[in-house]
């Protein structure tokens, strides 16, 4: 049984049909990639899975249970973490408070403290900035904070929306290294990326979205060598 099963999903904003009949599935501990041009509907798809954008048609099942139409905060509780596009850390809360909010649905205080320490050893720069306001961090640090915050809910599945966007190459490789490590922790990942090459390297399978629909779906290596993908998303001429 797949961990996450999205079936014929439709979602949008008013008259805009951003996602039109998308299906995908994620197996436990697996990393899958979703690639596609700007405006293809990737962000909307993730927001619909998390219950932020209403599902108009289709179903989302998580661990065998339907979560279609469930409020976001309950979906998080079931084990789906989400590091949203644009990072969206809380600018006027300290780094520590941002992380503590990541564990908002947990009550095991001791374990939360240990998890925060672990995040700080993963991203030492966060440890040095614990009492600084989130809004004063650099873009890369904010992305690390967003990842750490999403990890603190102890999710079984993480939705990551363009975690490398606008970051320096050295930070990008650090971020991808951490994402690669999620599998070892038993966390499955849906990775939305503009940086298709790096995403397909990490992922086992991938979907290509075009104007709200799945245009291609295959194993990551197959996708990476597909001429249509190479032309459109990998920048090979």
């Amino acid at each position: 049984m797949p961990l996450l099963e999205v079936c014929d999903l439709e979602a949008g904003y008013g008259p805009i049909r951003a996602v039109q009949g998308v299906s995908l599935d994620v197996i436990e501990g697996e990393i899958v990639a979703i690639i596609g041009a700007n405006g293809a509907g990737k962000t909307t798809l993730l927001l619909a899975i998390s219950g932020v954008v209403a599902t108009r048609k289709g179903t989302v099942r998580f661990m065998g249970q339907s979560i279609t139409g469930m409020p976001s905060h309950e979906i998080v509780r079931l084990g789906i973490g989400h590091a949203p596009e644009g990072r969206r850390i809380f600018p006027r809360l300290s780094v520590r408070e941002n992380l503590e909010l990541g564990a908002f649905c947990r009550t095991d205080r001791g374990a939360i403290v240990r998890d925060i320490e672990e995040i700080c050893s993963l991203f030492p720069v966060l440890g040095q900035r614990m009492s600084q306001m989130g809004g004063t961090l650099s873009g890369g640090e904010q992305q690390m904070l967003a990842l750490g915050r999403a990890m603190l809910s102890r999710p079984k599945l993480l939705l990551l929306d363009e975690p490398s966007l606008g970051l320096a190459p050295i930070v990008v490789s650090k971020i991808f290294e951490v994402i690669a490590g999620f599998t070892a922790r038993g966390i499955a990942v849906v990775l939305v990326e503009q940086n298709a090459r790096a995403a397909l390297k990490l992922a086992s399978r991938g979907w290509v979205l075009e104007t709200g629909r799945v245009s291609l779906f295959a194993n990551a290596e197959t996708l990476a060598s597909d001429p249509r993908v190479r032309d459109a998303y990998l920048g090979d001429a």
Binding site: S50, G51, V52, P71, S72, H73, V76, R77, H82, P84, G86, R88, I89, F90, P91, R92, L93, E97, E100, L101, G102, F104, C105, G135, R149, A150, S153
Partner: protein, 315 residues
């Protein structure tokens, strides 16, 4: 020390200090009301026009409870307990009413334009006023003097009575409680998260609607406490009291920086002091004009208010 002749009394230090005491006491009351505006604005960006009228309804309840309980003739100990019970009852009443208005009127409009909830709030204000008219009648009503106006200073150069003390003590206690709540509790952290980014808050597992409801409850409960304090201090209530008091408190919230709770306190104190000094030294009928002239000048130079944030953070 010989008393100054009446036409020079105004320039004495005692007179000035007296006006400051009056100003601080009034300002504390304004601040308590302003916090209700600021909390709701901080969390959903709504100017809750009905807040002043909510407080008027709290005063209606306080008057009815005092009438029904025979508190007026009780001894001093019973009276103090009675005041505590009044604060709790009116706090609960106004908090619940405020929360209900959010649930049934503002919440369905959450995704509509900003104007829809604003216009609804004006509507709620009128509805409350009509309920108040029905409850109190058209004439002002006097509120029984439960707390003695005994002066706490010996001599009579300075006046600071138990009534003044009650205002200051209750307001300070509530402010401390509120700042502890916002700064160090789970709910407070969730409130700050929702006010900064409701979607991100939902994505870490915060039940945003519940946090908003709790904010309306707390803001309303502070208003309920303000209604009791107001009744005991001003001792006259009427169905139109919400409008003017709401206006001054809203002004205080904007002056301090709307959305900021310390800002509401500072704004309230500034307006209280300006009002009392202006009415003593310039004349009662000029106070409104002076208060708003100062407001305009401050906002020209600091549009975000005294303690407000200067710019929005870059995303």
């Amino acid at each position: 020390m010989p008393a100054l002749p009446p036409h020079l009394a105004m320039i004495s230090l005692e007179f000035f200090l007296q006006q400051c005491l009056i100003g601080v006491t009034n300002g504390a009351l304004i601040a308590l009301v302003a916090m209700g505006y600021s909390m709701v604005y901080g969390i959903i960006g709504l100017i809750n026009f009905a807040h002043g009228d909510l407080i008027m309804l709290g005063a209606c309840l306080a008057l009815s409870l005092v009438g029904a309980s025979g508190l007026v003739d009780a001894g001093p100990t019973a009276t103090w307990w009675g005041v505590v019970l009044l604060l709790l009852a009116c706090g609960l009443f106004c908090g619940t009413l405020n929360m209900a208005v959010d649930r049934f009127i503002y919440k369905p409009l959450r995704n509509a334009s900003k104007l829809a909830p604003l216009v609804s709030a004006i509507g709620v204000s009128f509805i409350f006023m009509n309920v108040g008219l029905f409850w109190l009648g058209p004439a002002d009503r006097s509120f029984p003097e439960l707390v003695p106006p005994t002066n706490l200073f010996s001599g009579d150069t300075l006046q600071f009575t138990y009534q003044d003390l009650l205002v200051v003590v209750v307001v300070v206690l509530l402010m401390v409680a509120l700042s502890v709540l916002v700064r160090s509790t789970r709910l407070g952290r969730a409130m700050r998260a929702v006010s900064q980014d409701p979607t991100a808050a939902a994505l870490v597992g915060v039940d945003v609607d519940r946090v908003i409801a709790a904010t309306f409850f707390i803001g309303g409960a502070l208003g309920g406490a303000a209604s009791v304090i107001y009744s005991l201090y001003i001792k006259t209530i009427g169905f139109q009291m919400g409008f003017q008091n709401g206006l001054y408190a809203f002004t205080a919230a904007v002056l301090g920086g709307i959305g900021s709770i310390p800002g509401a306190v500072v704004g309230g104190l500034v307006i209280g002091l300006v009002r009392s000094l202006a009415s003593a030294y310039v004349g009662e009928r000029w106070t409104g004009a002076i208060v708003f002239a100062i407001l305009i000048v401050i906002l020209v130079f600091r549009p975000e208010g005294l303690l407000g944030r200067r710019t929005r953070e870059k995303v």
